[in-house]
Assembly symmetry: C2
């Protein structure tokens, strides 16, 4: 009988650990291409073919080069983006980029109001359904604006470039009071969302950024495919390009449903 | 008694699944900076500060932009790099970039001969110790040259640039016959190593690349910290920048010891 228990245990543990190591990862990253969304004052992503075709040795070869601002497309904001002497992109430990995650869906409110601020109440509503947000959770906010990407008029609120574009940005963001609450009351690990900025489009003071960066909380912006995730029991791996002294950078972020 | 068994099962499964979700990830990626190693004919990585300091609103802000070739630093070679009509960087499924991995340590032979070709025998020696390489394994080859990175003279064999630099490249690589064997006989998922190229420095035909790319096998180059891994029971997550039509690109690759 003891042997049977041990056998059952071994089979069960192997079975469950295989489930956990399953490769059903969901990609939460947009491609970098000529449609990639950047801040109106940023230069856009540019890729150039270095070589493509049959070379002088007679075999196929292709290679490209590209230029990019750090804060476009699916990307990381490192704490130093809005807080002096905080961590750069390459300094963020992997443990701050990987872990259990939740999706807080505010799309009903946010799609009805382009200037919507995600509030403490929105998180409390999530908690009514799922229980208190655990320590060191990666919080993903689904505003629903992901479905507009990369249509700049619909996603950003404007196609204009430069300071005129900035003045006309209209997309939802995180209320600075909620940013404060997520840190102090829920000790979150990181935060991400499906808009170009954690601060809403009309922000001029960028207080949500400043509060999160001050406390070394990594921010993930232009996160894709949040509609493909449940609200709870998610595991996220967010791997930014390891840019020395980077204030952020291109991010490949993936999720698994636990 | 049945309840006891169920209880033991629940505890054990939770215990082991927590171990599996532990966050002891090891970073196998170098930073991108002005020392990043590129092919002698490539342009080097360049980063430019866009803004850094207190802005006109009175708060700290920093942001940068950068230009890079796809194939420098820790990076992916997508199948299309050396095979027409094969997958681009953005098209490679996550399941081809994530999975169980092994480290084949050939550093003793490779450090004794800068032009060393990793052979089928090297993999058979690994198998003598650990058993046959499983289907869909990510094979990491440790030549030992990682310890020289980013010293170009020691790592590449030359500090020269351009075609003169290419002629003087001396670092170990994978024997094309072994590339063929890994695909046909062991059905590997991906391959990586701690040198700038899967083909050795003196290669002119790039046959290992061509064989692997033809068969849609992703290649990881300039992989860091392979000396920090055991030879077996590793789990690897390799997330390249999602470059549309990319022949490769900056790669963040991490590993966990199972």
């Amino acid at each position: 009988m003891n042997r049977l228990i041990v056998l059952i245990l071994i089979v069960a543990v192997n079975y469950f650990s295989q489930i956990d190591k399953s490769e059903n990862w969901i990609d939460l990253s947009y491609t970098f291409d000529d449609q990639t969304v950047y801040w109106p004052t940023n230069e856009t992503y540019k890729m150039e073919v270095v070589f493509k075709g049959i070379n002088d040795k007679g075999f196929y070869y292709s290679s490209n080069k590209f230029c990019a601002e750090e804060h476009g497309g699916t990307h990381l904001d490192a704490p130093i983006h809005f807080a002096a002497d905080r961590k750069t992109a390459d300094e963020i430990p992997l443990s701050s980029l990987i872990g259990n995650a939740i999706v807080v869906d505010v799309s009903e409110s946010a799609l009805a109001d382009r200037d919507y601020l995600v509030s403490v109440d929105d998180f409390l509503k999530w908690e009514e359904k799922h229980g208190e947000i655990s320590d060191q959770t990666i919080v993903l906010i689904r505003t629903g604006y992901g479905k507009f990407y990369p249509d700049k008029k619909k996603y950003l609120g404007t196609e204009l470039k430069g300071t005129e574009g900035v003045a006309n940005l209209h997309f939802p963001g995180l209320d600075p009071k909620a940013a404060e609450w997520l840190i102090k009351e829920r000790n979150i690990k990181a935060v991400g969302l499906d808009t170009p900025s954690i601060d809403y489009g009309q922000s001029t003071e960028f207080m949500a950024h400043r509060i999160l960066c001050e406390k070394e909380i990594p921010i993930f912006e232009n996160v894709a495919n949040l509609d493909k995730l449940p609200e709870n029991k998610i595991y996220v791996i967010a791997l930014p390009m390891k840019i020395k002294d980077g204030s952020g950078g291109p991010l490949r972020i993936i999720a698994k449903i636990l």
